[in-house]
């Protein structure tokens, strides 16, 4: 118990220094938690993917379409429960700054395949009945103040023209990791419009979503689907939804790696700051350690004092950082709006925060502790005079 008291006393001897160090640790832990959550957001599509869904797309690339009649052939493959299809629409709402993902899909099967988009039954029916209807995510609806019944206009980038939609339903995610910033509408509506302007581009889709009965047979079914269209004009590539989403992540890997490196640098900086504080504390107190050694306290006790102090500083810092993470995240999410589909602080991140501060505390105290142990008693005492 005495040692704890001594630790606390020691910490508050240099009040300003301790306070500043704790402040720095708090800020750093806060930032580290944010960076990790941003990385998580990158993987949110992967996390949200279901093992019971496959994505079939053109083997050439995602931007090359497939004929819509492939659906009937895919449906006949054994083990396939349900097939939906869709197309990245890429429409702009008023200005390019208002970004949100928007897709033209086959509505009925799509909603069956994605039960995580939760919609009220009557709204669902209204959406399915109205060919010009659309369903929007809760977050994007809040961002632009949309209500059901409103009309929105999207300017097409891939499909020329101005397209009018009526909001028939608002979906919310079944869990915190579901993206609530998307907009879905009827593929038929777009296709009819396309038939008038670019008849050759009509009746094509960007991807098929294939629901399967048994996730264990995913690889087998994928191969079977692809073999159906081998040596045809539009060969397909089928993979699990997870692999498909991972492909997206891999494309922007360079940025992801940058963020990861930066978060490691952040840890090094906290380490340096805490180590610096501890080095100075120990230097100030060398004569005390010499006195303790002269009184017969062993190296174990002195190490405990130094390490305990640095651990306590870094832990207090990280705890206050963790507490502050939540209000800060709320402000951040509100400011970013739909640019950030998912920002969910996981327990894992918080655990990581604690683990890091533990390591920082131990490492930062290491060299100062060695110095305190190694102090030659006689010389240190001489210095007092």
């Amino acid at each position: 118990m005495l040692i704890l008291k001594l630790l606390l006393r020691n910490i508050f001897r240099q009040r300003l220094r301790t306070f500043l160090t704790i402040l720095a640790t708090t800020v750093a832990i806060l930032a580290f938690g944010f960076l990790r959550t941003i990385i998580d957001a990158w993987y949110s599509g992967v996390e949200a993917s279901s093992p019971a869904r496959l994505i079939t797309r053109n083997a050439i690339s995602m931007t090359t379409p497939l004929p819509v009649f492939y659906r009937d052939k895919i449906k006949k493959v054994r083990g396939v429960k349900n097939v939906s299809y869709g197309q990245w629409f890429g429409g702009i709402y008023i200005s390019e700054k208002n970004f949100f993902p928007n897709f033209a899909v086959e509505p009925e099967t799509f909603l069956q395949l994605y039960p995580e988009y939760v919609i009220e039954p009557e709204e669902r029916l209204a959406f399915l009945k109205d060919r010009k209807g659309c369903v929007v995510g809760k977050k994007v609806a809040e961002e632009f103040g949309w209500k059901t019944g409103d009309t929105i206009v999207l300017k097409g980038t891939i499909f020329p023209g101005e397209w009018e939609f009526t909001i028939r339903a608002i979906y919310r995610g079944a869990g915190p990791k579901v993206d609530e910033t998307q907009v879905f509408f009827h593929w038929d509506y777009i296709n009819e419009g396309l038939k008038k302007v670019y008849p050759t581009r009509a009746d094509h889709v960007g991807f098929f979503v294939v629901g399967i009965n048994d996730p264990r047979r995913a690889a087998e079914i994928s191969l079977e689907i692809d073999s159906l269209f081998k040596n045809s004009l539009a060969e397909t590539l089928t993979e699990t939804e997870k692999a498909f989403q991972l492909g997206f992540v891999a494309m922007t890997e360079a940025i992801l790696i940058t963020i990861k490196i930066v978060s490691i640098v952040l840890i090094i900086i906290i380490l340096l700051i805490v180590a610096n504080t501890m080095a100075m504390n120990v230097r100030d107190r060398l004569s005390e350690y010499a006195t303790m050694k002269a009184l017969g306290f062993n190296w174990f006790y002195i190490t405990g004092l130094v390490l305990g102090e640095s651990l306590m500083i870094s832990l207090i810092g990280s705890l206050s950082g963790i507490v502050l993470t939540f209000p800060a995240a709320k402000i951040f999410v509100d400011a970013m709006g739909t640019l950030l589909p998912v920002f969910h602080i996981t327990a894992e991140t918080l655990l990581f925060d604690l683990l890091i501060s533990l390591c920082v505390g131990l490492l930062a105290g290491l060299f100062p502790a060695l110095k305190a142990i190694g102090v030659p008693v006689q010389r240190a005492l001489q210095r007092i005079g």
Binding site: R17, V27, S61, P160, Y198, M251, I273, N276, A279
Partner: protein
């Protein structure tokens, strides 16, 4: 003053561990600050350099990237009759109708596909791109299944060396040459004959038309004529302008990321400097008392300690900048969100970024040093001397 400088420097040398820890912290901050800015700048430079000022690119109205655009053959023919289009010394019309599609290729070090631009080229395509040179082999023959590959793509992706074959769109394509596009986006592209490519992808449209102006001032009138013609539904941009826009989203994202990180990191570094400087002041109360007794003014003490903190931060800043400058030898590639395709670029250190980084470290030094220096200057002489 000189005496003071030497005094400060020697102090920093005496407390080596603390000095090293503080400067290292600052160095890391400046490193992160400059490297993210360098990334944004490199991306922008690559895309801006891709365009040339005298070239005009024509796209379908409303499209933001070449892959979204579509121009029918008849419309392309109308554009190509414009008298403002220049001729090469050999008399070739400097106008190219091009098709841009994306194909999936696998990187040498990965198993996930990336989107690579494949551009169907016309006779004048190479003539219009001053920075693109053929380094080995030859250009694809018209009507053949032959491709030339940009050197950045050839280095990174599997199976693209000269003589190798690549299969897509039910055809085998032979690599007949390697292009060097310098630091431009063309270095990340594959070029093939336009008519073969249109046939392969069953695309009866061009993606864009690029032409060189005979007279650079004609741009406004050409633009007005194209955009005012209701038959066309097309828009015209200077090529430089078009490519600058292609870099905007990514560069802005990187810049925002860099700035917010720098702010957070600098808080840490400023606090680090503050801790160090406070400790320096506390350890040297006697020194300060003596200096004051010798006749140095409060102001001298203040400036002296401030200089010490500035030296610390400048040391850190220079070190950080030095390590960041080494990144220039690195080439990275990522998906550009706006074009949805792979783009290789280099970190680019500009004079502006270096200045900003140094100014930033100065700022951290001053902010970290000012409070401790103020405290030092306010110390009472008699008490300070009595403490010995």
């Amino acid at each position: 003053m000189r005496l003071f400088l030497i005094y400060n420097l020697r102090n920093l040398l005496t407390r080596k561990l603390t000095t090293v820890l503080t400067t290292t912290g600052m160095a890391f901050v400046v490193f992160v600050f400059s490297s993210v800015q360098m990334m944004a700048e490199g991306l922008k430079k690559t895309l801006v350099d891709t365009g040339s000022f005298n070239n005009v690119i024509v796209l379908r109205k409303g499209s933001q990237a070449e892959i979204q655009s579509a121009i029918e053959r008849q419309k392309a023919l109308i554009i190509e009759t414009f008298p403002e289009i220049g001729l090469s010394p050999q008399g070739v019309l400097l106008s190219a109708k091009e098709l841009v599609v994306l194909i999936n290729l696998y990187k040498k070090d990965g198993d996930k596909p990336s989107n690579v631009v494949i551009r169907g080229i016309d006779r004048a395509s190479l003539l219009l791109r001053d920075r693109v040179r053929l380094i080995t082999g030859r250009m694809p023959l018209p009507g053949s299944s032959e491709i030339v590959v940009g050197s950045a793509i050839q280095k990174r992706f599997k199976g693209l060396s000269a003589g190798e074959r690549l299969r897509f769109g039910l055809r085998d394509w032979t690599v007949v040459g390697i292009l060097d596009g310098g630091d431009t986006g063309f270095n990340s592209e594959i070029w093939a004959d336009i008519d073969t490519l249109m046939q392969t992808f069953r695309r009866p449209f061009y993606s864009c038309i690029v032409f060189r102006l005979r007279n650079p001032q004609d741009f406004t009138s050409v633009k007005e004529r194209i955009e005012g013609d209701p038959r066309l539904g097309l828009m015209a941009k200077r090529e430089v302008e078009f490519y600058r826009e292609q870099s905007e989203v990514m560069a802005r994202f990187l810049r925002i990321l860099g700035t917010s990180l720098a702010i957070v990191f600098s808080i840490g570094a400023i606090i680090g400097a503050m801790i160090t400087m406070y400790a320096q002041v506390a350890n040297r109360i006697q020194d300060i008392g003596t200096l004051r007794a010798l006749g140095f003014q409060k102001r001298d003490i203040l400036i002296g300690f401030l200089i010490e903190s500035i030296i610390l931060s400048l040391l850190g800043g220079t070190a950080g900048l030095f390590f960041a400058s080494l990144l220039q030898f690195l080439e990275v590639s990522t998906l550009n969100w706006q074009t949805f395709s792979e783009l290789a670029f280099r970190f680019n250190l500009t004079a502006e970024i270096s200045l900003k980084a140094i100014a930033f470290s100065l700022f951290m030094g001053i902010l970290g040093g000012i409070l401790p220096a103020l405290r030092a200057s306010r110390i009472n002489i008699i008490e300070a001397l009595r403490m010995g």
